[in-house]
Symmetry: C2
Subunit: 231 residues, 2 copies
DNA sequence: AAATAACTTGACCGAGCAGTCAGGTTTGGT
DNA sequence: ACCAAACCTGACTGCTCGGTCAAGTTATTT
C-alpha cells in the first residue's frame, strides 16, 4: 500500500490485477459486489466510524483479512459502497424531462424516490449519514455531477413555468423539498414507526405518504386544481 | 459505577452529590451545561461512535478525566446532550393549538422549525443522526412523549378539517413532511450548499426554503387559494 | 502436470480508545 | 483557622481497533 500513489477509483478496482485478467476476475468481482451489498446495512446502522471491520466481516461472511485483501482499507470499502449508491440517486430523476407534463413527471419522480426508500432503505441511510457528517467523501460528487443534474432538472422546471404549466417556484428548492419528503420515509423510519405505534413501516404508510407528498407538490405548485370540496 | 443500579436521568444528574448540596453545586451545573453545549457540534459532526473523549475534551476545554468525573461515560454525556435537544423539539409545535387559524399556525410552525435549523444546526444533526441509527437512545421518548404530542397536534388538525378550514389530509403524515422539509435545511445543509454552489447556507436560502414550504403546505392543504396567476 | 497468478487465512502488531485511580487543589460551611 | 466535601488531573491500564504478513490453497494457463 506504500507504493500506490493515490487511491483513485481505478486504482481501487485494480487492486488484485496481474497480466492474465481473464475469467478469474469475475469471481472476485462477484465477491466484491456481494460484499458491498452486505456491507450497506452495517454502514447504515453504525456509520463509518461505528462500523468495525469485524462487524463488516461478519456481515459479508468473509474473514477480516480477506476484506482487506479485496478492499484495502475500511475507508475504501465505504467509498465503494457510497459510489454504488450514487448511480441510483442520479437515475431517480429521469422522469423529469422536457417532453413530460409536470403532473405526471412529479408523480413518477415521487413514486420512484419512495420506491428507493422502501426497497433500499440502507442505501438511503448511508447516503444521509454521509451528508449529515459533512459529505467529506463526496464533496466532488455533490458539487459536480449532482449539481449538473440539478441544473438540468431546474431548467426543465423553469420551462414548465414559462409555459404556464405550473406556478413560479424556485425549482432547486422544490427539488430539495422533494428529496427531504421522500427520503424521510427511509432515513427517519424509526421515528415515524414509533410515533405511529407500528413495529415497522409498511405499504400503508408509504401509500399515505406518497398521496400527501403528491397533493402538496401538485396543488402547491398550481399543477393540480384545489380540492373539489368547497368554494 | 458498579454500585449504580441504573443510569436514570436522576442518577446521572446525581453523580457528584453529597449531603451538603448548596451553592457549590451551581459551579458544577454551569460547567456541565457549558460542556453539553460544546459537545453538541462534536457529536453532530462525528456521531456517537466517531466522537472520542479526547475530541470532546478538546471541544469543552476540560481534561478527559474531568469529563469522566462529571459525566461518567461517553454514552451518558451523549444521552444528556440528546436530552437537552428534546425539549426544543417538543416546544416547536406550540403554535399548533385549537384556537389558532391553520394558516397562521402552520406559518409560525414552519418559521419556528427553520429558526432551529438555522440557529441550532448541530442540535438538529445530533437528533437526526440518532434517529438514522435506529434511535436506540430515545425509543421511549419517541413512543411516549413525542407520540403524545403528535396525537395532540393531529387532533387539532382534525378539528380544522372538521371545521372546513382545510382539506382532508392525514395529519400525522403532514407533520412528518413538515419535519422533513424544515430539518433538511439543517441536516443536509452541506448537500444544499454544494448544489447551490455557495460555501454555506445563508439568510437567502432559508428565506427561499421557507417561502416554498409555506406555499406547498398552505395551498396543498387548501388553506390558501391557488395563485392569482391564471384560470 | 507443472508453473504461476489469484485468492484465502490465522496469527500477529502498534496505535488509539474508554475508563480508572490515587493524590492533589479549591471551595464553602462553621 | 480548620475541615470536609467537591472538584481536578497526570499517569496508568486493559482492550479493541485497523491493518499486515507469511504461509497456505485454489484455479487457470500452457
Amino acid at each position: 500500500m506504500q507504493d500506490s500513489a493515490q487511491d483513485s477509483p481505478e486504482a481501487i478496482a485494480a487492486l488484485p490485477v496481474g497480466k492474465a485478467a481473464g475469467a478469474r476476475q469475475n469471481r472476485s468481482v462477484r465477491i466484491v459486489q456481494r460484499s458491498l451489498a452486505r456491507a450497506e446495512p452495517v454502514f447504515a446502522q453504525a456509520g463509518l466510524a461505528g462500523a468495525t471491520m469485524a462487524s463488516l466481516a461478519a456481515a459479508t461472511g468473509l474473514p477480516r483479512a480477506n476484506l482487506h485483501y479485496h478492499f484495502g482499507t475500511k475507508e475504501n470499502l465505504y467509498a465503494q459502497v457510497l459510489e454504488n449508491i450514487l448511480a441510483l440517486w442520479l437515475d431517480a430523476s429521469d422522469s423529469i424531462h422536457p417532453g413530460a407534463e409536470p403532473g405526471t413527471a412529479f408523480r413518477a419522480y415521487i413514486a420512484a424516490k419512495l420506491s428507493y426508500s422502501r426497497d433500499r432503505p440502507f442505501a438511503s441511510k448511508v447516503f444521509a449519514n454521509e451528508i449529515l457528517h459533512g459529505a467529506v467523501h463526496l464533496r466532488s460528487y455533490l458539487g459536480l455531477e449532482l449539481r449538473r443534474k440539478v441544473d438540468e432538472k431546474a431548467a426543465v422546471i423553469e420551462g414548465w413555468i414559462a409555459q404556464g404549466k405550473m406556478d413560479r417556484v424556485d425549482p432547486r428548492h422544490l427539488l430539495f423539498l422533494l428529496w427531504a419528503m421522500t427520503q424521510t420515509y427511509a432515513d427517519f423510519d424509526s421515528q415515524i414507526a414509533a410515533v405511529l405505534g407500528v413495529p415497522a413501516l409498511g405499504a400503508e404508510q408509504f401509500a399515505a405518504g406518497q398521496a400527501l407528498i403528491v397533493q402538496l407538490v401538485l396543488r402547491g405548485c398550481g399543477i393540480d386544481p384545489p380540492s373539489p370540496k368547497e368554494r
